[in-house]
């Protein structure tokens, strides 16, 4: 697909919204994200849809998108026609989910080239609207997605009952269909072994914690994604507020933990950061897990002023470019696992020295 691939290749060179590294509290909060799940009222949910029905849904959404004022630059991308590499690329950028990539049949994503919003079509629900923002900012995010929802609704009819709200394939999403999440970098809380306390506190107020890259993933690189657990029985405003209230506390804990490390444990901390920096600068072969692990320490170092000559935006760029699909796209060809590890090390050496 001509223009389609070009657009994705364009993205390669950009860092994208959520990795920009600016925005409020961006030394700790990486990004804020709000998602809404919606289904068209006159079709079954995805699992019970025939191939024809999936195509019909995608067509209806595409038509609505053409007629709406969603964004002059936004593009409708047919994911079913993308190759493995391109799909993985979009996943690494958090523009599509694993589920959309692996699903079968007609599916798509409507993408903002600035990566501030994306709309997945035919994932677990017919539509998954998403807005992303660098740093900690949920209010602006909500007003943007609310407007997006209203706009689409002028050309589409969503399944809804006054009793259960917006109807979704999985009852865990019914009602508001809202998932609000904030990604935080908490290396000091991990280093001071207080992260478990944080989990307990969050559990008490129905806030869920996940690793980087969403559901079921591990806590790679000291990144933690917190989000609301429930979607029914509370208004969108209340659900957002609940998460919003928690974040400043977490930021505070992390800052205090960082201070502690600087005051009590400066030597150890310095050593930790230097070693991480050193390995990244000199390794000849390095995996993406290792890279993320060390980049996390380097990020902390930058935030605490222990490393100079390196900025957060640069670091973010390195983080995304060392992901498997990104590496291959930069190189312009597919690479085996072993070659990727070599290529990754080359890239890091280039950009850190």
């Amino acid at each position: 697909m001509g223009w389609c691939n070009l657009k994705i290749d364009d993205l390669t060179q950009r860092t994208g919204e959520w990795m920009r590294g600016d925005g409020p509290e961006s030394d700790i909060v990486i990004s804020s994200r709000i998602r809404l799940a919606r289904n068209l009222s006159d079709f079954p949910f995805i699992r019970k849809c025939s191939t024809k029905q999936r195509a019909q849904i995608a067509a209806a959404v595409q038509l609505a998108f053409d007629r709406c004022e969603i964004g002059t630059e936004a593009e409708y991308i047919d994911v079913s026609k993308l190759g493995d590499l391109d799909r993985q690329f979009l996943m690494e950028r958090q523009l599509i989910s694993h589920e959309l990539s692996d699903a079968e049949g007609t599916r798509a994503v409507i993408l903002d080239p600035n990566e501030r919003f994306s709309i997945m079509v035919n994932e677990e629900d017919h539509l998954r609207l998403q807005v992303m923002q660098s740093g900690f900012d949920l209010e602006h995010g909500w007003s943007r997605i609310d407007k997006l929802d209203d706009t689409l609704e002028t050309h589409l009819q969503f399944a809804f009952t006054s009793k259960f709200g917006y109807l979704t394939a999985c009852p865990t999403n019914v009602g508001t269909g809202l998932r609000v999440s904030v990604m935080l970098h908490l290396p000091a809380l991990v280093a001071t072994k207080q992260i478990e306390k944080v989990f307990r506190a969050l559990g008490k107020i129905n806030v869920a914690v996940r690793g980087l890259f969403g559901e079921g993933s591990q806590f790679m690189g000291d990144f933690y994604q917190i989000s609301n657990q429930t979607t029914l029985g509370k208004s969108e405003g209340e659900l957002i507020q609940r998460v919003q209230q928690v974040v400043p506390q977490l930021i505070d804990y992390e800052r205090k933990a960082r201070e502690f490390l600087m005051n009590e444990d400066r030597a150890d901390l310095s050593d930790l950061v230097s070693r991480a920096h050193g390995i990244l600068k000199t390794a000849k072969k390095i995996s993406s897990e290792e890279t993320m692990h060390y980049l996390s320490k380097v990020r902390l170092g930058i935030n605490l002023g222990l490393i100079e000559g390196l900025t957060i935006p640069t670091l973010n760029k390195m983080f995304i470019h060392t992901q498997p699909a990104h590496l291959q796209k930069l190189r312009g060809r597919k690479l085996s696992g072993s070659d990727r590890n070599t290529e990754r090390a080359n890239y890091l050496q280039q950009h850190l020295n």
């Binding site: 009222s41 019970k48 609704e153 009952t161 259960f164 992260i195 914690v209 559901e215 429930t230």
Partner: protein, 317 residues
Amino acid sequence: MFGKKFVSELLDSHAVEHRPNGSYRLYYQALLNPRIGKAKFAMKCQHCEKNAIFHITELTDPSGPTLIHLCEDHARVFFHTGESLETASALSDLLSKQLQLEKAASELAQTDKKTCPMCGITFSEFRKGGRLGCPYDYVVFEEDLEPLLMNIHGAQKHVGKVPKNLGGTPKRHFQLKRLRSALQRAIEGENYEEAGAIRDKISAVQSGSLELDDHEMELLELEEEFQSLPDGLPEIQDEDQLGDDELDDEELDDDEELDDDEELDDDEELDDDEELDDDEELDDDEELDDELDEDALDDQLDDDIGGDDAKEDPDVK
């Protein structure tokens, strides 16, 4: 002993506590790692009805890991006193929960059979897969979903945003589906007047000015079911159904037999009537006879005794 991959998965996703006796205790919150245990819905505390927020995996027993789910209060007790599962109260709690579950099993089997007329999913299919089939499921399974939603969200009713375009309710879609089938049937059966009336109903439902009541919906559903049966009742005399001459003969014989029987029945009826009459007559006669006999016997008695009035018959004065 538990498998290297399993243990490393657990360790990666849990916070690990090394116990004094050398075993591990791992714990995680809520939806931390949905892969393990495949918890799709919120779990209940093992000791009470509250939601569990602590999920503890004990790796002390060589036969396998033990999963413990606790609410905040019971977790506090657990961590504080270092209880293990072997305490009596914990065991009895588990047993009573088991009984509760068993009692509900027969009810559950009934619920599991419920099917959605729009998408065909059964409640049991939903329970196994964790996903519903279509928006109308929320109408069909409403009662059964309520406790589930309470468990997941702590609520059963939506609060919050309402779409401006409220037309597409699942009920309406279902009613339109039934009406369209009825329209099809009317057209095929060449009932054009009825078809017109149905078309009007369809427009009214679409515009929201009409909603079919339960009775009307039941009628439409019955009609749809009847559509699958052959027209009318099967007839024996229908020659088209049979291909054999022999069979035809047999039929005729059968018919004759029937006629004969009918005749017999008629006769019998007549006989019965006559019999009745006869019987009545007989009874009358018999009675008379009895009376006569009694008198005759009395006379004879009198004669035997010698005509004396020594014993007078009290009836005869």
